[in-house]
């Protein structure tokens, strides 16, 4: 099931499917590892309306709510078995 990253709860892991951000932000996110098929997990949820942090490529990255809604992820067992090469 594909959902916005904001739906992922603290401690849950999901796989990135699609980034809908504007180009500059999408590029920045890609540099950090927010690219399709990369696994990310939510590690920190601050105050309501504040930032949240995600573990990606073993680093913790804080994002604003609006940007979190622009990242779409897939959860469930199917996402773990796939092993596509995503280095493009």
């Amino acid at each position: 099931m594909v959902l916005p990253l904001s739906q992922i709860d603290l401690g849950e892991t999901a796989k990135v499917v699609w980034i809908a951000s504007q180009k500059a932000m999408a590029d920045r996110l890609a540099d950090l590892g927010f690219i399709p098929d990369e696994e990310i997990s939510c590690v920190l949820k601050g105050r309501k309306g504040g930032m949240r942090a995600y573990l990606v490529r073993n680093a913790v990255i804080g994002l604003r709510e609006e940007n979190i809604n622009e990242i779409f992820v897939q959860t469930g067992p199917s996402s773990c078995s796939a092993s596509l090469d995503s280095e493009k």
Binding site: S21, A24, R28, L44, G46, G49, N58, G62, R64, S86
Partner: protein, 612 residues
């Protein structure tokens, strides 16, 4: 750079310890802290090995070579210029994959490929990784990458020596990277083993507490309070001791100079003008700074500041500013000029400008001593020197700092709704792992680099200023000294702001360095003929009250010290960073108007209520 043996560049992701390696190898003192983006300009230094002198260039950290911000542009341009004879790519042992992505991008640069510039991969922070149970197969890394790979812990000198040796071995070699192809993701998966699955658990727990809904703000304020309390309580005793020591020399110095046959007037000026003020500056400013700066550096090194930025982002978002402004604000506590340069970590030009314009609303190193002195002298009547006294002082200082933070937020809000209209833009904020600070190094570095620097500047600028004031006070025009003419000119405005002409003049003369504001005030008062017996630190209070100071004067000065024009260095930096005189003028006018308005408001309110 022709006269050097070779030029070596240090590249890598942000916050992987490039500057620590740089400092370790060159012996220079680049500012380091535990958050991404401390280095925004490349720095270079020399080192020598086996008699060969080489240059090491510390580049700002980049996540990739697709540049987004100014400081990443610097790194990219340098790597593309072909100036470097070798490039050391530094990566974090806990984040090898990310480092490999950057390495791959650097390898695909035309300049690197065409010239076959040798690369070295330096896996830094190996000790941190080992503690977290992360193991790296270096042999496999070397086999796949076909370039030298050095495991390193930048704090260990033998690791640095090994790195130097490896760099030197690359000299003159030309590499062929045509056949080199690897997938960073797969290579990292094959070479890095996680022996403990829950190695992040402790960090996550701490993070949840320090950024928690209620605990976040509470911990932030409590930490600030603790730092200030330790500063105030710890500084009491050494301050008194230094005072006694330095003033016991006063008489000796005077009689020595008399014995040398110098004119009496000169001795008066030198001893009771310059020496007395310098002794005062040292005894009152040194102990609090020697405690405050190491504590602040400790917090910086620990990695707590990005958590504050994370927690505070909601407030900055409401002001349509960038959460990273919190980091540049924190740099402003050290030095506003450094804070302004640090604003390069903010990508959006609008938000960067907001951060630059509001940076001087938080007090820098040079203004802390003034704030501390005013608080201790005027707001602790009767409880000075006691446990409660230092606690109340810490509370007041925390309130002052929070006022500065609130002003920053308020002005950001105002700017983004008037001059710099726009919507908040996207950004990412990396939360680096907590690192154990090296207590010894922190102590040495912060005392030598910050405390003595500020004190030295205060002394160096205050001494000539003292001479000028002495000359002004002793040159008479129309039967009145020049000093009185000058202060009389500023007096009406000063009085309106709850201050006086001398204080205002001191702030103007303090334009090159904020540290000298209080010394100038003292010298001006001492020159007015009111010689006060300097028996103990209470004498200061007597001197100031004799010149008409009340708690209202102190409060207004506290406010004006917090909000007035930035110092000359900061103004020049703002001009350089914004490239516009208009914005520099805004940066000067904004805090000044705020300060003047607040002071007049406080003064009027006090007059209306009939309290003084």
């Amino acid at each position: 750079m022709d006269n050097y043996h070779m030029v070596v560049a240090l590249a890598g992701n942000p916050n992987v310890g490039k500057s620590t390696i740089f400092n370790g190898i060159t012996g220079l003192k680049q500012h380091t802290a535990n958050w991404p983006g401390v280095t925004v300009e490349s720095a270079s230094g020399e080192f020598s090995l086996d008699g060969k002198v080489c240059v090491l260039v510390d580049l700002p950290g980049t996540y990739s070579l697709n540049t987004h911000s100014k400081e990443e542009e610097v790194a990219r341009q340098y790597l593309c210029s072909g100036e470097a004879d070798a490039v050391v790519v530094v990566c974090d042992a806990t984040c090898v994959e990310r480092g490999l992505h950057l390495l791959k991008q650097i390898l695909s640069l035309e300049t690197i490929k065409d010239h076959g510039i040798p690369l070295v991969l330096c896996v830094n922070l190996c000790d941190e990784a080992r503690k977290k149970g992360i193991e790296i197969d270096f042999d496999l890394l070397k086999d796949v990458l076909q370039i030298p790979v050095v495991s390193c812990c930048a704090r260990r000198s033998q690791d640095l020596a090994c790195l130097k040796q490896t760099i030197l071995q690359c000299e003159g070699t030309s590499c062929n990277y045509d056949c080199l192809d690897f997938s960073p993701k797969h290579l990292a998966a094959e070479t890095v083993y996680y022996t403990r699955t829950n190695y992040r658990k402790r960090e996550e727990t701490i993070d949840r507490i320090v950024t928690g809904r209620f605990t976040g703000t509470l911990i932030m304020v409590l930490l600030l309070l603790t730092v200030f309390w330790l500063t105030m309580a710890g500084a009491n005793y050494p301050s008194g001791l230094l005072w006694d020591l330095l003033f016991s020399f006063e008489g000796t110095l005077a009689s020595c100079l008399t014995a040398l046959g110098l004119p009496d007037l000169f001795i008066q000026a030198l001893v009771y003008g310059v020496y007395r003020v310098l002794a005062w500056v040292v005894s009152v400013m040194l102990p609090p700074m020697a405690i405050f700066f190491p504590l602040f550096t400790l917090l910086e090194d620990l990695g707590y500041l990005p958590r504050i930025a994370f927690h505070m982002d909601r407030s900055f978002k409401r002001c349509r500013a960038c959460g990273k402004q919190c980091l540049t604000m924190a740099m402003g506590f050290g030095c506003n000029a450094a804070g302004v340069i640090g604003c390069r970590i903010i990508d959006s030009p609008r938000e960067r400008l907001i951060a630059i314009l509001t940076n001087s609303l938080v007090p820098c190193n040079g203004r802390f001593p003034t704030l501390i002195t005013l608080i201790t002298l005027f707001f602790l009547a009767g409880i000075q020197g006691t446990f409660t006294g230092s606690f109340v002082a810490a509370l007041l200082l925390t309130a002052v700092i929070l006022a500065g933070v609130c002003a920053t937020l308020g002005c950001s809000w105002m700017l983004s709704h008037t001059l710099l209209k726009g919507v908040p833009s996207a950004f990412t904020l990396e939360l680096p792992p907590y690192r154990r600070p090296q207590i010894g190094k922190v102590l040495v570095r912060s005392i030598l680099d910050r405390t003595l620097f500020v004190l030295g500047r205060a002394a160096a600028v205050a001494a000539p200023a003292g001479l000028i004031i002495w000359i002004l006070a002793n040159t008479a025009v129309n039967g009145q000294s020049l000093l009185l003419h000058l202060t009389g000119f500023f007096d009406p405005l000063g009085k309106l702001m709850g201050l006086d002409g001398v204080i205002l003049m001191a702030f103007l003369l303090g334009f090159p360095a904020n540290e000298i504001v209080v010394p100038i005030i003292l010298m001006a008062y001492l020159q007015s003929g009111m010689l006060v017996e300097m028996t103990d630190s209470a004498a200061l209070f007597t001197l100031l009250t004799a010149n008409g100071w009340t708690w209202k004067t102190a409060l207004c000065m506290l406010v004006f010290c917090l909000f007035h024009w930035p110092c000359s260095t900061t103004c020049l930096t703002i001009k350089k960073e914004t490239g516009s005189l208009k914005w520099t003028a805004v940066a000067i006018l904004l805090p000044t108007l705020l300060g003047v308005t607040l002071c007049i408001a406080i003064n009027t309110a006090a007059l209306c209520l009939g309290i003084s």
